[in-house]
């Protein structure tokens, strides 16, 4: 089956530095692949290069049609891109969509109807005549998505489209985007640093670190079982060497069993209630830092010299408020740790 998007030996240079070096990446028709990675990993660069918007070396093909001299516009018209910044032109929301349709040579008579349909589908039909500065961030991004989908692209590039939105709007729009992807069946490549976004939208995940693919696989597999320490750290796991892990009773004696290190997901570290904290596998820990996390609080802990992190839901804040230096008891679920 022809890949919706096929990238081979894709390289982008900035000055003398290679900022992107992807040997091979395919997206199947109807599939959504998320490119995850920390800031500066090259996610947007990969997306822009694949969308033929910045110069790159290597081979790019969209539904088997290779990119080449003079084919850029034709291939770009097979795709649409939604950026972090909605990037609406200084005209009404409706005219923004009609402008995109005009570029795609959609007959004039059809444009208004299609613009109306997509504005309605994205829930912003009431804002059809509003200009960009009159729209909220969420509304502008909805118009941007409507503009991208109205031209019935065969492939969709999503460059961190929700990262500029507040938490509630983002959560709602991620859900709506999933429904849109399923409904239209369009293949997509999504750049994001948000694991939750990838978990909801993507069939597969590619983790990019320093411009190279560090891990690739099914979304659940990658998010649950990072393959390297750098991927594990990016995904929020605590990484311990095997001695520290063994000392905490997390299994295996030494590296003979396979890995040299252990990745502990924050969800595997449970804070114990007063009643539970005398159990045999409970560990003493000291709170090092209290940080924000999606939907809760992340506690950086020192457990017998090992750095671990635990995440607790916002509801737990009604019971306790932690501060650096506080003593707590924790239990680590050995079944959830990953040997690297």
């Amino acid at each position: 089956m022809t890949a919706a998007l096929a990238l081979r030996n894709l390289r982008v240079r900035r000055g003398r530095r290679n900022v992107l070096n992807v040997t091979a990446l395919d997206v199947a028709p109807g599939e959504t692949v998320a490119v995850l990675g920390p800031n500066g990993a090259g996610k947007s660069t990969l997306l822009l290069a694949a969308a033929l918007l910045i110069p790159a070396s290597g081979d790019i093909a969209v539904f088997g049609e290779p990119a080449g001299r003079g084919r850029g516009v034709r291939l770009r018209r097979m795709t649409s891109t939604v950026f972090q910044d909605a990037g609406l032109l200084d005209m009404s929301a409706r005219r923004n969509i009609e402008q995109a349709l005009a570029i795609h040579s959609v007959p004039r008579g059809e444009r208004a109807e299609r613009a109306r349909y997509w504005l309605d589908r994205l829930g912003v039909s009431a804002r059809a005549e509003a200009r960009p500065h009159q729209l909220s961030g969420g509304e502008a991004q909805r118009v941007s998505i409507a503009r991208a989908l109205a031209v019935t692209p065969r492939f969709l590039f999503l460059d961190e489209p929700f990262s500029g939105l507040d938490f509630a709007t983002r959560a709602r729009m991620v859900g709506e985007m999933r429904a849109l992807l399923l409904e239209t069946g369009v293949a997509a490549l999504l750049a994001t640093h948000d694991h939750a976004e990838a978990a909801v939208l993507a069939d597969r995940v590619v983790v990019l670190v320093d411009g190279r693919v560090a891990q690739e696989g099914a979304t659940a597999e990658v998010l649950r079982r990072p393959a390297t320490a750098e991927v594990a750290r990016f995904l929020g796991f605590s990484v311990l060497d095997w001695q520290a892990a063994t000392a905490l009773g997390l299994g295996r004696e030494g590296p003979a069993g396979g890995g040299q290190a252990v990745a502990v997901p924050p969800g595997a570290v449970a804070l114990l209630d007063a009643g539970d904290d005398e159990s045999a596998d409970a560990l003493d820990a000291r709170v090092v830092a209290v940080e924000g996390a999606a939907g809760g609080v992340r506690l950086a802990l020192d457990v017998a010299g090992a750095a671990l992190a635990a995440e607790v839901g916002l509801e737990a804040l009604h019971v306790a408020r932690w501060a650096p230096g506080d003593r707590v008891r924790v239990r680590v679920d050995p079944a959830r740790v990953v040997w690297l």
Partner: protein, 232 residues
């Protein structure tokens, strides 16, 4: 004091009675500066867009050159054009020296760097991803340029107005390449210089009022456009 009062009275009389010579000079000035601004815009707008959006070696040096060109002394532009169009010069065979065409060329040389620099600055001030967004919509090069220019239309209008302002008020280049020939190349500024040198302050003042009125009219149009855009 009498000199000023008499000059104002004379200027008012000339304007009120519709002195033919003055209105002929005014019309010629409008046509010549209009054409030179048009030529400068036709060259300067695409060049400014290209400088802002393109990637080529020496881009920064080119922008610096355009920025420096905004302060080009009219006499220098006039001198360059005069040497090119002089009868024994490289383009002397065209026979353009001391014609309105020579003034248009010299004034376009003055206004073009202003239009290039202001246009490039305006486009560079747009969100950096805007032209990527437009290309991502599937636009080809020409439509991308058009839509980017549309986004920067107000500052681009300012660029054209600034170009017009620079040529309508210059005197050195027009004098040098036009020769201030009565009925042929005499424009408001060169005429005003001549009238002052002959002590005809009333006529010079009338010419000055018309020149000011032209600039105020252009500024009023610009302000109107700006306010209309702000209200939307």
């Amino acid at each position: 004091m009498d000199l000023i009062v008499e000059a104002v009275q004379e200027a008012w009389r000339l304007l009120r009675t519709g002195d033919n010579a003055i209105y002929e000079i005014t019309l010629r000035t409008a046509v010549i500066t209009g054409f030179s601004t048009l030529v400068a815009a036709l060259i300067g707008l695409p060049l400014g867009l290209w400088v802002a959006l393109g990637r080529f070696p020496g881009q920064r040096a080119f922008v610096s050159l355009a920025n420096a060109g905004t302060g080009m002394p009219p006499v220098v532009a006039g001198l360059v054009v005069a040497m090119l169009l002089w009868r024994s010069g490289p383009l002397g065979a065209l026979g353009l020296i001391y014609t309105p065409y020579a003034i248009v060329v010299a004034q376009a040389l003055i206004a073009t760097p202003i239009i290039v620099a202001v246009t490039a600055g305006a486009v560079m001030a747009l969100p950096p991803t805007l032209h990527l967004q437009i290309r991502a919509m599937g636009a080809g090069s020409t439509r991308t340029l058009w839509l980017v220019a549309r986004e920067a239309r107000l500052p681009i209008l300012v660029a054209v107005m600034a170009g017009f302002g620079s040529v309508v008020s210059e005197v050195g280049a027009s004098m040098m390449v036009g020769g201030n020939l009565s009925g042929e190349t005499r424009v408001l500024t060169t005429a005003a210089v001549l009238e002052v040198s002959q002590g005809n302050f009333g006529t010079a003042l009338a010419l000055g009022f018309i020149l000011l009125a032209m600039i105020v009219a252009v500024a009023a149009i610009l302000t109107g456009v700006q306010y209309r855009a702000r209200r939307r």
